[in-house]
């Protein structure tokens, strides 16, 4: 054997004492990796912060969408403070301060003209962006009773969000009623009753449904499903909550299916085998033993499906009709929160009350999906711990 090349045959050691400070590259790399991985936390925080930022004025009732009854003549400009003038002009104080004298004068003139032209409607002086009008019904001019109206693009801006909430919930409910039985049934079949061969390819095919983009689903609902359903049921409005809800249901089937199937498969085979050995039929074993054991996971699947459905935009934007009327009927054209944001944001003026209101309902959406996600996660987490403790 030739002389070894890294021969450490000597007694005693060299270089052992260098300590952990000997490897600065390691240390730097580790810190950098940690910093990058904070991205998820930072992103979530930024989303929350910046959406809240745009909606704060509405949240605190500081936006005023009423039509001014007070006119400040241009000549009297100097009698008022910057703060009062910026409020009069309905713009942030910082923006007002950034303008030069000429621009300010121009703005005052425009505002004076606009105020002269203000509508003579009895409701012109109401701040429709205040909480009372966002949530409670009101009898507007031209309506024969107190109603919930969302109609931002009109002289008197009507900002009641209740029709949108009802629209979202209605459509989501239809979607859940359609999707949950199908997805759960399929999940039970695939995890408990199907042969191994069938499971091998039915499961991926169902999961493939999630590969269809929602805009394609919306297109299909709009072009194909709406016509078919109208022919079958014969209602008046071609695009409505039913059409959108069913298409939405298609879209959430993979979500509910995957999680429920996971939960059912995680129930140890030993349970159902014990039941079968005691003489129970397949049906009884599944219904009485396996399903109850998987209940938390199934529940989580439903909750996560709900969260996904209520947050979906393109399908409802294209297939629900988008009439922001207040109705509990699924065959009426309807408007959801998501579709409202999608359809109206591009038309708003940056910083206006309409703009901020849309951000506010977006914040609402974020909070709802956050909590439904959290609930689903906690249930799945507890489920996993329970099964691990048992297994």
């Amino acid at each position: 054997m030739s002389a070894p090349l890294n021969n450490k045959r000597t007694q005693g050691w060299m270089g052992l004492k260098r300590g952990h400070r000997a490897r600065p590259l390691e240390w730097v790399a580790e810190k950098l990796i940690f910093l990058v991985s904070l991205s998820a936390i930072i992103t979530t925080l930024l989303i929350f912060v910046f959406i809240t930022r745009e909606s704060l004025p509405i949240l605190f009732g500081q936006m005023d969408s009423s039509h001014q009854t007070l006119v400040i003549p241009v000549a009297d400009m100097s009698k008022y403070s910057d703060k009062e003038l910026s409020k009069y002009l309905d713009m942030p104080e910082t923006d007002f301060k950034a303008m030069d004298a000429e621009t300010r004068q121009l703005m005052m003139e425009v505002k004076a003209e606009a105020t002269e032209e203000r509508p003579s409607d009895k409701d012109a002086g109401i701040n429709t962006a205040s909480w009372r009008y966002l949530l409670m019904p009101h009898q507007w001019t031209g309506y024969d009773k107190s109603s919930y109206i969302w109609q931002p693009v009109s002289e008197i801006h009507k900002y009641n969000i209740v029709p949108l909430l009802v629209g979202s919930l209605k459509t989501t409910l239809v979607a859940m009623l359609f999707a949950v039985p199908l997805a759960l049934g399929a999940a039970i079949y695939v995890s408990q009753l199907a042969s191994n061969a069938a499971r091998e390819w039915i499961k991926p095919i169902i999961e493939m449904l999630s590969g269809i983009p929602s805009v394609v689903m919306g297109f299909f609902a709009l072009l194909v499903m709406a016509t078919v359903l109208q022919d079958v049921f014969g209602y008046a409005s071609r695009l409505n909550a039913l059409v959108a809800g069913i298409a939405l249901g298609f879209a959430i089937i993979p979500v509910v299916f995957t999680i429920a199937e996971d939960a059912l498969t995680s129930v140890p085979r030993a349970f159902s085998q014990a039941a079968l050995a005691l003489g129970a039929s397949r049906w009884k074993a599944t219904w009485q033993i396996v399903l109850p054991a998987a209940l938390p996971g199934v529940l989580a699947a439903v909750i996560l499906g709900f969260g996904r459905a209520i947050g979906e935009t393109m399908i409802v934007l294209m297939a629900s009709g988008n009439a922001s009327i207040m109705s509990f009927s699924p065959t009426d054209s309807t408007r959801t929160i998501t579709a409202t944001i999608a359809a109206e944001l591009a038309e708003t003026v940056f910083g206006s009350h309409h703009y901020r209101l849309l951000f506010m309902i977006g914040l609402l959406l974020f909070i709802v999906s956050f909590f439904s996600n959290l609930a689903g996660e906690l249930i799945v987490h507890r489920l996993k711990k329970k099964l691990e403790g048992r297994a």
């Binding site: 992103t43 199907a194 169902i206 269809i212 805009v215 394609v216 709009l222 999608a342």
Partner: protein, 310 residues
């Protein structure tokens, strides 16, 4: 004891039948959708459609082409991937290789990842507008061009749309990468460390090469997602019509999914537009759905290979 009499188990048969029907119904629905789109979309796929340039009269079957949309989608998705894959992979590496599983910070990060995965797409759009365009873009404009000048960065642009999509697909990459990292047997890491390698060396030389197929899967899934989501790009950069292809980061762009939306809802004559619409949907589907299938196929192959290894 009498075992001979066999009573037919009606309950279970009905039960099996119903649940099987549910599964098959879902498969059937998928088949119907795909068949419908392929049937009506295929005839519209001419070479001119795919590779020509589009004129303003995009609703007219003789003038329409999806080339600008394909280009826009590709550019968007490439920008997005370049940003999301490194961040996602590094985060997954931190979570699997470096983090102490019980520490609150680790649970916090995981919680944030799970939360991000559930945020509605339109909320990402709002985020893109409120943060990237207004704050970052507006800030850049103020810094370089002054407060009252015409916005350069502080308006919808392909870079902001790409960043928005990157935040949306971040969880996808992280989860897929983590899955592939966890599948690597710990014995390999131990062997490397016992030979005097540092953790970083072990991750780079032993762990990452093994995890590459999983990372690839995650990237493909992210691309498929990014190409299909329309809500986040509605106000962050997608345009109804652009006369030229996007060439700068501050340009707006036409995009496949957005175009499907426009054709579906803004067409003056839906019957005339129908063939182009179907063809566009088919192209979009080929892109996203096919990518999704490829990714899942890779993932299944990996799982099978790993099962035989252990």
């Amino acid at each position: 004891m009498n075992f001979a009499t066999k009573k037919h188990d009606y309950e279970s048969s009905i039960f099996s039948g119903l649940t099987a029907a549910a599964a098959w119904l879902i498969v059937a629905i998928l088949a119907v959708i795909l068949a419908n789109i392929t049937w009506y979309g295929l005839p519209g796929l001419s070479w001119n459609f795919i590779a020509g340039s589009t004129e303003k009269d995009m609703f007219n079957p003789d003038h329409a082409s999806v080339m600008p949309m394909i280009f826009g989608t590709a550019a968007l998705v490439i920008l997005m991937t370049v940003m999301v894959v490194p961040v996602g992979v590094i985060t997954a590496i931190y979570l699997t290789e470096y983090a102490h599983s019980s520490s609150p910070m680790t649970r916090f990060i995981r919680g944030a990842v799970n939360n991000l995965a559930g945020v509605p797409a339109i909320v990402f759009g709002l985020f893109g507008l409120g943060f990237f365009i207004s704050f970052v873009g507006g800030g850049i404009d103020e810094l370089f061009y002054g407060a009252t000048a015409e916005p350069v960065w502080g308006k919808p642009a392909i870079i902001w749309a790409a960043l928005t999509l990157a935040t949306l697909t971040l969880p996808v990459v992280i989860v897929a990468t983590e899955e592939s990292l966890k599948a690597i047997p710990p014995g390999l890491r131990e062997a490397s460390l016992a030979l005097g390698a540092t953790k970083l060396e072990t991750v780079v030389k032993i762990v990452l090469p093994q995890a590459l197929p999983g990372i690839l899967t995650g990237s493909i899934l992210a691309v498929s997602r990014g190409a299909g989501e329309v809500a986040p790009i509605l106000f962050t950069g997608a345009a109804y019509y652009m006369a030229h292809l996007p060439s700068k980061l501050t340009d707006q762009f036409m995009e496949l999914g957005y175009h499907v939306f426009i054709l579906s809802t803004q067409s003056p004559n839906i019957e005339q537009t129908r063939p182009i619409l179907y063809a566009t949907v088919l192209v979009l589907l080929l892109l996203t759905f096919a990518l999704n299938v490829v990714a899942i196929a890779i993932r299944m192959r990996i799982r099978k290979k790993l099962r035989s290894l252990h």
